[in-house]
């Protein structure tokens, strides 16, 4: 099982690298054809998403689907081998996070066809996969406090899906900021990026809420207190507050565009702090 796991880990890594290469190729080629397209049609606002499907694009999609399959298999073999959900150390959690991003990349690709946002997601995925490969740790037995599997599994599953989807909103926000500085015809237009970033937060925010609430409920069961200001708890609360600001600013004050995008980038920084926080602070979540 350990063997299969590392084979599929390598396959995932290769899959994501090749996906990125193809994604870049297809972006470049669509950029060229869109340039041709826009000169021919004189329609500057034409977006890459509305271009006819190319073979490259289809190959990219197949490659991403394959990468998702490989990551899923890596996780499955890990779970079979350890007998518990993938959440006992940073390697397992990074892999889960990667899985969350790719799932969301696939869903948003299917729903919005915004290739550029997907590419940002893939780059974050690659960085995390490299981190996971470097950290690859032999499974350690679980200390008694982590043996309550069901609640913990849901807690972690909703956490990685929330992180995954917030990575998408980060991608959309970054592209929006780039678009704002210099309008690029091959990037999705600002309106679509804004919609993607908002929709992703709308899905991610309840998931993050669920993560925190389940974590608190679990802490009450395991340690007898809902909240202990453990650094990881605190930084996930900070993340939650940032997205709460985003939602209020947008729904109540109509924030859009750059201001909203900056809040989303801050939210993603908070996620990274929460995720890698284990190296900075100690506490109840201090697994490595």
């Amino acid at each position: 099982m350990a063997n299969l796991e590392s084979i599929f880990l390598m396959a995932s890594l290769a899959g994501v690298v090749v996906s990125i290469l193809f994604a870049v190729f297809s972006s470049v080629s669509s950029r060229r054809s869109s340039a041709r397209f826009s000169t021919a049609e004189k329609s500057g606002s034409q977006t890459a998403s509305e271009l006819p499907k190319s073979g490259l694009l289809i190959t990219t999609k197949v490659l991403i689907a394959l990468s998702l399959l490989f990551v899923t298999l890596t996780l499955v073999f890990r779970v079979i081998q350890t007998g518990h959900g993938p959440f006992s150390n940073m390697y397992e959690f990074a892999l889960s996070y990667v899985w969350g991003i790719i799932v969301m990349v696939v869903i948003f690709e299917w729903r919005y066809k915004a290739a550029a946002v997907r590419n940002v997601g893939l780059i974050v995925t690659l960085l995390l996969l490299i981190f996971a490969t470097v950290k690859n740790a032999r499974p350690q037995p679980l200390v008694p406090a982590l043996q309550q599997s069901t609640l913990l599994s849901i807690h972690v599953a909703s956490a990685v899906l929330a992180y995954g989807i917030f990575t998408i909103s980060f991608g959309a926000a970054v592209l929006l900021l780039i678009q704002n500085r210099r309008s690029m015809v091959w990037l999705p237009d600002k309106e679509i990026l804004d919609v993607i970033s908002y929709r992703s937060v709308v899905i991610g925010f309840p998931l993050l809420t669920l993560t925190i609430v389940l974590g608190a409920v679990w802490a009450d069961i395991a340690w007898g207190r809902f909240w202990s200001w453990d650094p990881k708890e605190t930084s996930s609360l900070v993340t939650w507050l940032i997205y709460a600001v985003y939602i209020h600013a947008r729904l109540m004050r109509g924030w859009k565009g750059i201001k909203a995008a900056i809040v989303l980038v801050a939210g993603f920084v908070a996620i990274l702090l929460t995720f890698f926080g284990n190296y900075i602070f100690t506490g109840l979540h201090a697994y490595r």
């Binding site: 350690q140 809902f226 605190t234 947008r250």
Partner: protein, 477 residues
């Protein structure tokens, strides 16, 4: 009289000003940013353990040692700013209290608009209303009877879950439709449960209790206290380890007594607390215990029990365990401290198989300290001590949190509220039908969605379905 009026007028202005101040979402955003900043300090800066924070002397020592180790000469300043205990600092408490008031006022402020949505606003609008803004549409040259148009529009809206209210005058038909109006109440679910969390948290700290280290040695009984009338007996304790030495499982078999009557028998494990009348016992830690018997001068046994060696301390690298026997009922002795042989190194002072017996007088000064060997009675002071056997103790966390149920309910309401606001936007549609001559006319539509939601996509769907139903010739948007 005049003066009084003036005063009450002033009071009213102040109140109005306060209300306006607290009803701003901008204030909420600023307060949240402050809370974020403070929380980040709490996550990144070393924080004082709560046991130490309660004792001013221990706290100042902690600041000059542990804190100074991390932050150097800044420790005094940071301590003065309460930043080593951010989450109990005045800043944090003030910011949170203001935010709670802010949330409350903002929520109340929205009530009139929500009430209007639920009741339904005015149906008939000026004609200009239907053609201003960007979510408008017009269906021209409808070839149908007026009653048919009304019935078909109603059918389309009903199918999409709209509530429809209609008014007619001699020329026109006016319709106002809306859906998800009750989901607007979701904002109260989420925001009030947020306030409920904070209140429950405060109430829990005030009315409940939390005992972090409640150790009971095997075989012995200990009172829980806190006016519960409960006491716990540890029947046995088992610990299991993985081959690498990491703990795999540990569990305690216990009997709980209420007013000296046994009321509950249970096995307590990590994640499987024992709960009795709201008092919860969590398996927390464990360690060694010693069984000691004490006789007085007359040879009468005055004490025989297992003593939990639950205090650990280090002197010159030697880590020893310490347990305390309370002999307060004797005339000149208060307590006896038992000290184990070092657990980490070969102990040159207290050899393995021995404990040191440290007898204290009423003012807690040492009377004498002697070694006691396992199985060998020894007279120390006026008493005869016997170290009968080695055993174990089990440590629990005991807590009673009357607000626990409230927090569970608030959690559920919180998520329900968030989902209902984000996934069920309140949508409104207004329709004006103007028949021109018998069997033809034009239909004007205007849609509205909350900010952040696109009303155009909803409008497109409605227009398409109406088109299909009414089969018009020409549509202009």
């Amino acid at each position: 009289m005049k003066n009084q009026l003036k005063k009450s007028g002033k009071f009213k202005t102040v109140l109005q000003w306060l209300w306006r101040f607290f009803s701003s979402v901008r204030l909420a955003v600023i307060l949240i940013i402050i809370i974020i900043g403070l929380s980040l300090v709490g996550a990144l800066l070393i924080q004082v353990p709560q046991e130490i924070a309660k004792d001013p002397q221990a706290y100042s020592q902690w600041v000059s040692t542990a804190a100074a180790d991390k932050v150097g000469f800044w420790s005094k300043l940071l301590s003065a700013l309460h930043l080593f205990d951010v989450f109990h600092s005045p800043w944090f408490i003030i910011a949170n209290s203001l935010l709670m008031i802010n949330i409350l006022i903002c929520s109340l402020n929205r009530w009139s608009s929500i009430k209007l949505s639920i009741r339904g606003g005015s149906i008939r609008q000026e004609e200009s209303f239907y053609i201003s803004g960007n979510s408008c549409a017009e269906l021209k040259d409808i070839q149908a009877l007026t009653s048919e148009v009304e019935e078909k529009s109603e059918r389309v809206l009903k199918a999409r879950g709209y509530r429809i209210r209609t008014e007619r005058d001699k020329d026109n038909i006016y319709m106002a439709a809306d859906r998800n109006r009750y989901y607007r109440l979701g904002t109260y679910f989420s925001h009030f449960s947020l306030i409920l969390f904070v209140l429950a948290f405060v109430a829990g700290n005030y009315f409940g209790f939390r005992e972090l280290s409640f150790s009971v040695a095997e075989g012995s009984i200990r009172e829980v206290g806190h006016e519960t009338g409960l006491s716990m007996q540890l029947v046995s304790f088992v610990d299991e380890y993985y081959s690498n030495g990491a703990p795999k499982d540990y569990r305690s078999e216990v009997i709980l007594y209420e007013d000296s009557k046994p009321v509950k028998k249970a096995i307590i494990q990590v994640n499987h607390p024992m709960i009795y009348k709201g008092v919860r016992f969590y398996q927390s830690y464990f360690g060694p215990a010693v069984k000691i018997a004490i006789r007085d001068k007359t040879g009468q046994e005055i004490y025989s029990d297992n003593v939990a060696m639950d205090n650990s301390f280090v002197i010159e690298d030697y880590r020893r365990q310490e347990g305390i026997i309370d002999l307060g009922f004797l005339q000149d002795i208060s307590k006896v401290h038992l000290i184990s042989s070092a657990v980490n190194l070969q102990d040159p002072i207290i050899p393995p198989g021995f404990v040191a017996v440290d007898i204290r007088n009423k003012s807690n000064e040492q009377i004498t300290i002697k070694l006691l060997q396992l199985g060998v009675p020894r007279i120390i002071g006026d008493l005869e001590f016997t170290f009968l056997e080695d055993s174990k103790y089990s440590g629990f966390q005991v807590s009673h949190d009357p607000s626990s149920t409230i927090i569970w309910i608030a959690s559920a309401l919180f998520i329900i509220g968030i989902c209902s606001v984000l996934y069920f936007p309140y949508r409104q549609v207004w329709i004006l039908y103007q028949p021109k001559r018998q069997g033809s006319g034009r239909l004007l539509l205007r849609a509205r969605s909350p900010r952040g939601f696109r009303s155009n996509s909803e409008l497109d769907v409605l227009v398409n379905q109406l088109k299909k139903e009414l089969s018009t010739n020409q549509i202009k948007e």
